[in-house]
């Protein structure tokens, strides 16, 4: 299977601090790929470089065969990479439906068609009943699902999820896991997620990359990395095994 996303020796420095140090990995199409690691490991920086919010200082990022490193965030999204934010950012004064419609308008010029697509997605993500509510009035789990819906509306081939489970109770986590699994299985959507919630990682991911201090210290299946001594030492702790 050819890789949908490839990172080759990607680095980012912030005034003397090397946040991401020569990280390389490949995400095959159609998988759910997790990036885990302690806080400050460079996960979000890595994400931001893929998503286009930051430009790497070195290395190459290739998506669907084309280089995307250094492209602006909106250009990257137009290429088919959508993202959510660690701290959710819906459009607060707009309705749930309008939020997702905006996403759908990226590749559709007709507002009516975009709205229909938005409604489909809202149904999928269990937000259809709340579609007329203002985004600012939603609870956190709903806002997270809204962001996912909005990102999906842009019709991506790759979805970047930044700690989408954070702050969710176990039942809500399971719900989100089920939705993501469905999207991946039925729609063939490739998902790259940063996660701390190991429950979700074990349930979803087929590939895991572990970062620590900007360096990739392990890569493999969830079962394999959970037993990797370097990973245990730096991140998981003995209890996780």
């Amino acid at each position: 299977m050819t890789a949908l996303l490839t990172l080759e020796r990607v680095s980012k420095r912030f005034r003397g601090l090397t946040a991401v140090d020569n990280v390389s990995f490949a995400v095959p199409a159609g998988v759910i790929f997790a990036v885990i690691g302690p806080n400050g490991a460079g996960k979000t920086t890595l994400f931001n470089m893929i998503a286009g919010t930051l430009a790497p200082d070195g290395g190459a990022i290739t998506f669907a065969g084309n280089p995307i490193e250094g492209l602006s965030a909106d250009a990257v999204c137009r290429r088919g990479v959508a993202r959510t934010f660690q701290i959710v950012r819906p459009f607060p004064a707009l309705t749930v439906e309008d939020n997702v419609t905006i996403g759908a308008l990226l590749h559709r010029h007709d507002v009516g068609a975009a709205r229909q697509r938005a409604q489909e997605l809202l149904r999928r993500l269990d937000l259809f009943d709340k579609r007329q509510r203002l985004a600012s009035t939603l609870t956190l789990p709903d806002r997270k699902r809204l962001e996912v819906a909005r990102a999906l509306a842009t019709g991506p081939r790759l979805l970047l999820l930044d700690e989408v489970m954070a702050g969710l109770r176990p039942t809500e986590t399971d719900r989100m896991v089920a939705i993501l699994r469905e999207l991946n299985r039925d729609g063939g959507l490739t998902i790259l997620l940063i996660e701390h919630v190991m429950r979700a990682v074990m349930a979803l991911a087929s590939h895991v990359l572990v970062l620590d201090h900007g360096v990739a210290i392990a890569e493999g299946t969830p079962d394999a990395i959970v037993r990797d001594p370097a990973v245990v030492q730096s991140y998981l702790g003995a209890e996780a095994v």
Partner: protein, 333 residues
């Protein structure tokens, strides 16, 4: 039927038609002085709506809109006085120029990430630059002012915009109605949605693929182009242009008062705001006149107090709560 696609509810349509009918009949119902007041109100309703496109829709605070008014006015006036070119043709020249100016300001600002208050200051700087520049530019008569020849008042010449107040009234009424309709469609269009996204959260807008630079540029250019007509109208209605007056920051502030008091980002807000503001100001004048008081600056103090009250107590403007009362609330865009 949901969100911005709700369209015109019957009640809204009814109220709007009523208002329009009243406005169309006005010249037969009011005296000349009140007609002039109405012209002023509609002028500010128009200009305010044009400004609203940039601020209310795309979230960019411009405090230098007098620049576009002044430039357009001068272009049309110069073409008329030097070459006898009528205002409608003059408009064809003024619109691209205003849009180009907007593009320059927009490009400088957005390319270099000048936002928020800094952007507002940049717009003020450009308007001031124009004011001082024109004041010292002999070609347009500098500070002595540019005067348009007024040949007659009785015969209504629509082509040259020479004639009775009633003619000007209908012109500005038509323009205001058109701009209202334009905004109605803009808000519901793809570009309108993108503007809202940018206004709400620019970074999130980029994350869903919106080229925010391009759409902000569109907002600035459309706003400038629409404002252009106000400048041409101003020139041909008042028949004189002084840089000190036309480009003054007071003009820019007058333009924004209507939408702010009425409600930024709403469709009807700028119109209501213009009515409230000018209406109350004229009432104030009348009251003071009755007492024999003649205070230059009192009207401005009044404007300031109105602005203060609205900003403190009704930050969304007067229209949203009123609209809710009337049952015609605009779906909040």
């Amino acid at each position: 039927m949901s969100g911005l696609s709700a369209g015109l509810s019957r009640r809204r349509a009814a109220l709007l038609t009523l208002l329009l009918a009243a406005l169309v009949a006005a010249p037969w119902l009011v005296n000349d002085y009140l007609l002039t007041v109405l012209i002023l109100i509609l002028y500010f309703a128009y200009a305010g709506q044009a400004w609203n496109v940039m601020m209310g829709f795309a979230g960019q605070l411009s405090l230098g809109h007098a620049l576009y008014v002044g430039l357009s006015g001068y272009v049309a006036a110069m073409l008329f006085t030097r070459l006898g070119v009528g205002p409608w043709l003059g408009l064809l020249a003024a619109i691209p120029l205003a849009a180009a100016c907007g593009a320059v300001i927009g490009y400088l600002a957005f390319r270099f990430r000048v936002a928020g208050v800094y952007f507002a200051i940049l717009t003020i700087a450009f308007a001031e630059f124009a004011r001082i520049g024109f004041d010292n530019w002999g070609f347009v008569n500098g500070s002595s002012g540019l005067f348009l020849p007024v040949t007659q008042y009785e015969h209504n010449d629509l082509w040259l915009l020479r004639g009775a107040p009633a003619m000007f009234y209908y012109v500005i009424l038509a323009a205001t109605a058109l701009v209202f309709v334009l905004c109605h469609f803009l808000v519901r269009s793809r570009i309108g949605y993108f503007w809202l996204a940018i206004r709400e959260d620019e970074e999130a807008a980029r994350a869903v693929g919106i080229d925010t630079f391009r759409y902000k540029m569109y907002a600035v250019m459309v706003s400038a182009a629409v404002t252009s007509f106000a400048g041409v109208f101003y020139a041909f209605f008042y028949n004189n242009l002084f840089p000190e007056q036309v480009f003054s920051i007071s003009r820019s502030i007058e333009i924004i008062l209507g939408p702010i008091i009425g409600g930024i980002g709403t469709l009807f807000g700028p119109i209501l705001g213009a009515f409230v503001l000018t209406g109350l100001a004229e009432a104030l004048n009348a009251v003071m006149g009755a007492f024999g008081l003649e205070l230059p600056g009192a009207k401005q103090v009044f404007y300031g107090v109105c602005l203060l009250l609205v900003v403190v107590a009704l930050p969304d403007g007067v229209w949203p709560p009123l609209a809710r009362r009337l049952g015609v609330a605009e779906r909040k865009p």
